[in-house]
Symmetry: C2
Subunit: 417 residues, 2 copies
């Protein structure tokens, strides 16, 4: 092992910054990076991460699936594959999307290294520096990071407990265009949104699609959580209504496992060739090994039942979190009541700064993500995202109780109640 | 299955081109894309691809490795991982690089989705539109494609049968800078180069490193084939001499298997943070499943012996190709005599256009890659790349014999001999 070589720290060469591309200025460590290192300590109840809970996944079955894949089809599984993704998996992905009312052709599916790569590829084909991306307020931190690297300006569009507000979208389009800016697409997560946990109702979906179609703006429908609803069948995807103007992003990270890094984009035909070429330039081809492991699992295993097991597991944790919030949190705090997915969004009195409060929470052995992480513009300082996906229910209860103590103390210091 | 849905072809919306980013104009299908579809027909002897031959890989052993990985460590292997890559694999990568004289620290290794992703990330942090990248003449088609997407201008530097010519590099730097252009890095493949198959001698390595250091130009050392030498120990990597100015790219695609999509970059400390952030924005994290499969294989299996088996297999095929070329090709053609890797580079009389000749070769049941694919500037029309990595030796002999017939016919038509 070479781990014992001492590195001589020579520092950054003086002229290095000017040697980087302009976009490199956007490549700064996110505020939640250092947090995750602390939050992963075993004595901390982490309500910060978005890691799915794999305890419901039968590992011996998965072990058999991959063993048989290699012994029966190793020459293909371990070889280079198609840049667009394996044809068989693309057919199976169409079957998965059919659960959300999508009728799609496998030719229009592009397999990606997680749906993060799809976000990257879409940004690559659309974003010139200074272009505007519309996104929910708040929005997924990983998408905001990618848009920033492509030097886009994110304009946030207001939400309420029913998700993105159509009138706010109309206004954002008008205002942005009046300022002479180019809007490239609307990015949203209609199902159990990250970070708010809210669900966009059917009438708003239709209205938002109409607004974007009329305005000539593509809709990026990011949907990692759609099959993880607790009490009702999956709502129809926005893509089910509009195959021309919606780019749909899917992922197996939450319905099977994230370690495979298999996601996909379902795109209008007019965009497919450029996205495939962009993907080949980025990674040559997605992993056949991962893709065929997922494909074998979908073929041979009761994957719908498995998703039901995951959903049950998350529902119990959601209940534990909401009950504890009801029991312990002060009356002046509000929070969402998710019907699926991983997240609760808590809003405190505006005098509280959740980033400043974070070290105190760590001392109290609990971690969360401060709200500002989910805005491109510094907003969100009195909000926080709490994830119930990973810890055991008893740990969630203990964590919320501790966190409530920290919040109450912060409020007392400021004379709030 | 949804494969039976008929797609209504609506064509490209009129205003779509102006909605794309400027860089999207560079996302055009490569000239070898359509070729590969034809070349993969079983009746064609394909000397076109760069697919490693996996017949020497013991599949039952690989099957056991991945089965044990999931049953013993599935909760980690199927979960999200570190953006920089798994710490254990990064240590093992340092052990692999030690075979080429590199002393590296695992903290400076970034695991990527194949080394193609490393090329993408390096391009992302360095290239502004119009910047110049220096590359060998000819150079790897996949790298040229990535540089083009970042809107770089590639300036090719002349090679001979000992690889890149140092004096040509000096001249390219002087000329480019005199024209007021910014050179961001030199990209080269010192070992068994793609597409020429040549090996850069030690004295040239030292001289090229000095030239680039003096000029303040980073060196990208792309090294997928370094351990696949036929007759001698692996030459020391350029990175072994210079840890400050060399970005080293490695890959398991040719030494283990490409289906895992695991490569890496070893970078100067000053670049690491930005590359990790760029990678997280691009794919969130590399696959733990793939990384830990490679890691288990390296821990538990005789991987050096396995590389020796691969090398022996390729040597037999190299011999078959060179013997057949000697026997059948006309005296006015020249070709390289590789001591490792996958490729022979053939130069025909300049009157022959290998792209125009390609359909005739397909009729004769043999495929290759026309030389122009390996230049950013249209050069290379009378050259071609022949790969001996994949087909059986007898197929290689038959293919070369057929191809010689096509070449001779082309020459006769033009009155050449």
């Amino acid at each position: 092992m070479n781990g014992d070589i001492t590195r001589i720290h020579t520092g950054t060469p003086e002229n290095l910054t000017e040697r980087f591309a302009t976009r490199a200025a956007q490549m700064k460590p996110s505020e939640i990076r250092s947090l995750f290192a602390v939050a992963s300590r075993p004595d901390i109840v982490s309500l910060a991460g978005g890691m799915p809970n794999l305890s419901a996944l039968p590992m011996e079955m998965m072990s058999n699936v991959v063993a048989r894949l290699i012994s029966e089809n190793g020459a293909e599984a371990l070889q280079y594959g198609s840049g667009q993704g394996h044809p068989k998996l693309r057919e199976q992905i169409c079957d998965v999307m059919a659960l959300e009312g999508i009728r799609a052709h496998p030719d229009d599916v592009i397999v990606t290294t997680g749906s993060q790569q799809a976000l990257d590829l879409i940004s690559r084909i659309f974003i010139d520096p200074g272009d505007v991306i519309l996104a929910e307020a708040p929005s997924y931190v990983g998408a905001l990071g990618t848009f920033a690297q492509y030097e886009a300006q994110v304009v946030h569009v207001a939400m309420d407990n029913d998700g993105l507000i159509p009138d706010a979208l109309r206004e954002a389009i008008t205002t942005t265009r009046a300022a002479g800016r180019h809007i490239k697409f609307l990015y949203l997560i209609p199902n159990y949104q990250n970070p708010m946990g809210v669900l966009l109702p059917a009438d708003r979906r239709t209205e938002i699609l109409e607004i974007c179609r009329d305005a000539g703006i593509f809709v990026i429908e990011d949907n990692p959580y759609g099959l993880l609803g607790f009490d009702r069948p999956s709502p129809n995807a926005m893509r089910a209504q509009d195959s021309e103007n919606v780019i749909y992003l899917g992922s197996f990270s939450k319905t099977i496992a994230p370690g495979f890094r298999v996601g996909w984009a379902l795109v209008p035909q007019s965009l497919k060739e450029k996205i495939v070429i962009a993907s080949e330039s980025s990674i040559l081809c997605p992993s056949n090994f991962s893709q065929l492991a997922i494909s074998s699992y979908l073929s041979d295993q009761p994957w719908r039942d498995q998703i039901a097991s995951f959903t049950q597991l998350y529902k119990v944790r959601r209940d534990a979190m909401l009950e504890s919030l009801d029991q312990h949190f002060p009356a002046s705090a509000t929070w969402t009541r998710p019907k699926g997915g991983f997240y609760v969004w808590v809003t405190l009195p505006p005098e509280i700064d959740t980033k400043v409060m974070m070290p105190k929470a760590i001392v109290a052995k609990v971690a969360y993500v401060p709200g500002t992480a989910f805005y491109a513009d510094g907003f969100g300082s009195w909000s926080m995202r709490l994830s119930y996906c990973y810890p055991e229910p008893e740990r969630i209860r203990a964590g919320i109780k501790s966190l409530a103590g920290v919040v109450k103390q912060e409020m007392e210091i400021r004379g709030l109640d």
